[in-house]
């Protein structure tokens, strides 16, 4: 397994956001985490990325990263594309991408930058402009491109389709599938369950901070528990 999360627990003060969650992502797999707003999906992502202090065990490619600060987890190959794009607005497109390569010391950064710009022609056309002028879709591409610059083994995406038009959402899921074919494992948090289950091999459904159910994408698509989770049925 590439990522193994065991009994992860996260509290913000009185709020118990993540309650004993265990999940795994295999090398080269796409895994979706589904659930209603407030189910704890984003908190789970932040805890795995090291942006929130959680208890429990997180292993990446067999080594324990539970105590590592966020920056070292990036170097280990785990990168989170946070919810709401969160680009560096006063910096240019190119500078945003270069921040993504911050943990790298190798000589291939320039080559990877060229590859990312080739993949996203809209970004290439605006590489010298402040990122603040990009459209919502372009900002999401920039956030993903920036994460790619870290050369991740596992990319976590938190609600990447939020606020995008249907055409852009389709392009986004094509992109996710393409990245996966390159060998990057994907852990995807999505509200768009249909698209997520079409793209992912497996999924977990979260409810009130717990994993309610899990299974292959096909099983989950038929599982009434998924609909329940979104309709806010009471926890078992």
């Amino acid at each position: 397994m590439l990522l193994e999360v065991e009994a992860l627990d996260l509290r913000y003060g009185a709020t118990h956001a993540v309650r004993g969650v265990s999940l795994s992502v295999a090398e080269g797999e796409i895994v979706a985490v589904l659930g209603a707003n407030g189910a704890g999906k984003s908190s789970l992502m932040r805890a795995i990325a090291g942006a929130a202090a959680a208890s429990g065990r997180i292993r990446l490619a067999g080594s324990d990263i539970s105590r590592m600060p966020a920056a070292r987890r990036v170097r280990a190959g785990l990168v989170l594309v946070p919810e709401g794009r969160q680009i560096f607005v006063s910096m240019t497109v190119e500078e945003n991408l270069l921040v993504g390569a911050h943990t790298r010391r190798d000589r291939a950064v320039a080559r990877d930058l060229a590859a990312v710009l080739e993949r996203f022609p809209n970004l290439a056309a605006r590489r010298g402009q402040p990122a603040a002028v990009l459209s919502g879709g372009e900002q999401q591409m920039l956030a993903i491109g920036r994460a790619l610059m870290a050369r991740p083994r596992l990319m976590m995406l938190d609600e990447p389709s939020l606020g995008l038009s249907p055409i852009l959402v389709a392009q986004l899921f094509d992109l996710i599938a393409a990245l996966n074919r390159q060998g990057i494992a994907i852990l995807l948090v999505e509200q768009n369950t249909q698209m997520a289950l079409e793209t992912a091999a497996r999924g977990y459904v979260m409810e009130l901070g717990r994993i309610r159910t899990s299974g292959s994408a096909a099983e989950l698509a038929r599982d009434p528990a998924l609909a329940d989770a979104y309709l806010g049925a009471a926890a078992p």
């Binding site: 990325a49 942006a51 600060p69 966020a70 920056a71 990036v74 170097r75 990168v79 989170l80 946070p82 969160q86 680009i87 560096f88 607005v89 006063s90 910096m91 240019t92 500078e95 270069l98 921040v99 993504g100 911050h102 943990t103 930058l113 060229a114 710009l117 080739e118 290439a124 056309a125 590489r127 010298g128 402040p130 920036r146 994460a147 870290a150």
Partner: protein, 296 residues
């Protein structure tokens, strides 16, 4: 060169170094309103190293700057626990503590100040200032400079991208403290005299204004800001003299120059809240280098 012009240039060079000390932290998103405290540490440190340890100016300046860096490093830990306006207050309080310690220490001359035996002239100060400016431009062009700007924009996301935000912020406080202390050491040796009153709250406010009015987005900001603030009052003074107005009216203009100055500052804040020099401005002024090149 006239004595007056030399004096203005020396003050400008010292203010430029001081401004970069504050800029280094501001570029990474931290406002340091304790500039006067760091400059005082450099000035008094240099004075004591000369008077009591008998060090010549060169080593005294270097050690005083190191002392400022060490203090910056140490206070960064409590200061970085605060955010926003509380950080501004914490750094301000630090400067007040430094001033309080000096005023109450007989060894530091109390309110009487200290007279230095050594002297450095503009031949030393100008090259040092030039070196500091070049270093700041170099720093901002490195991956550390990029990380500083990322932290300025969004600390949490910078951390998610692998930037050790805390290490960068602590480093900025240490480096900024060292530069502010360096400017203090040069100040002490140029004027040959240090007194606590010089390093008061107004000085901290002014140097932060140099940086904020100049702009924190690029390394040009503090240079332009310090020049603006140092030369404008002198320019207003010269203007009154050059107009050859009645001595009384001339004095009135000279005295009201701070009023005019204040109005200009307020106007700047309204019209250019990002500072005089922004990346956008540079983009429009400089030839379009690298645009579209190197890919595709």
């Amino acid at each position: 060169m006239s004595g007056y012009l030399t004096g203005v240039l020396a003050l400008l060079a010292i203010n430029v170094i001081f401004a970069y000390g504050i800029f280094i932290t501001a570029a990474a998103g931290q406002l340091n309103l304790g500039g006067a405290g760091f400059q005082a540490i450099g000035a008094y440190g240099c004075a004591l190293l000369g008077l009591e340890a008998g060090l010549p100016p060169g080593p005294a300046i270097a050690l005083a700057a190191l002392l400022g860096g060490a203090v910056g490093f140490l206070i960064s830990f409590p200061v970085l626990r605060t955010r926003g306006v509380y950080m501004v207050l914490a750094t301000f309080a630090f400067a007040e503590v430094v001033a309080g310690v000096i005023l109450n220490s007989e060894r530091l001359g109390g309110s009487m100040g200290l007279i230095l035996q050594d002297y450095v002239d503009i031949g030393i100060i100008l090259p040092v200032a030039g070196g500091v400016v070049l270093f700041a431009f170099y720093l901002m062009s490195t991956r550390v400079g990029l990380a500083m700007r990322a932290i300025h924009d969004d600390e949490a996301v910078a951390e998610l991208m692998g930037v050790h935000t805390r290490a960068v912020q602590v480093g900025c406080f240490a480096l900024g403290g060292a530069l502010a202390a360096l400017s203090g050491a040069l100040y002490a040796l140029y004027y040959g005299f240090v007194e606590a009153q010089v390093f008061g709250p107004l000085l901290s406010i002014f140097v932060l204004l140099y940086v904020l009015i100049g702009g924190t987005q690029t390394a040009w900001g503090p240079l332009v800001g310090a020049a603006f603030f140092t030369l404008l009052p002198e320019g207003l003074r010269s203007l009154a003299a050059a107009l050859g107005v009645e001595p009384e009216l001339g004095r009135a203009i000279e005295e009201s120059r701070f009023l005019i100055f204040g109005v200009i500052i307020v106007a700047m804040m309204i019209l250019r809240p990002q500072g005089i020099v922004t990346r956008d401005l540079l983009e429009r002024m400089l030839p379009r280098r690298r645009r579209g090149a190197g890919h595709g």
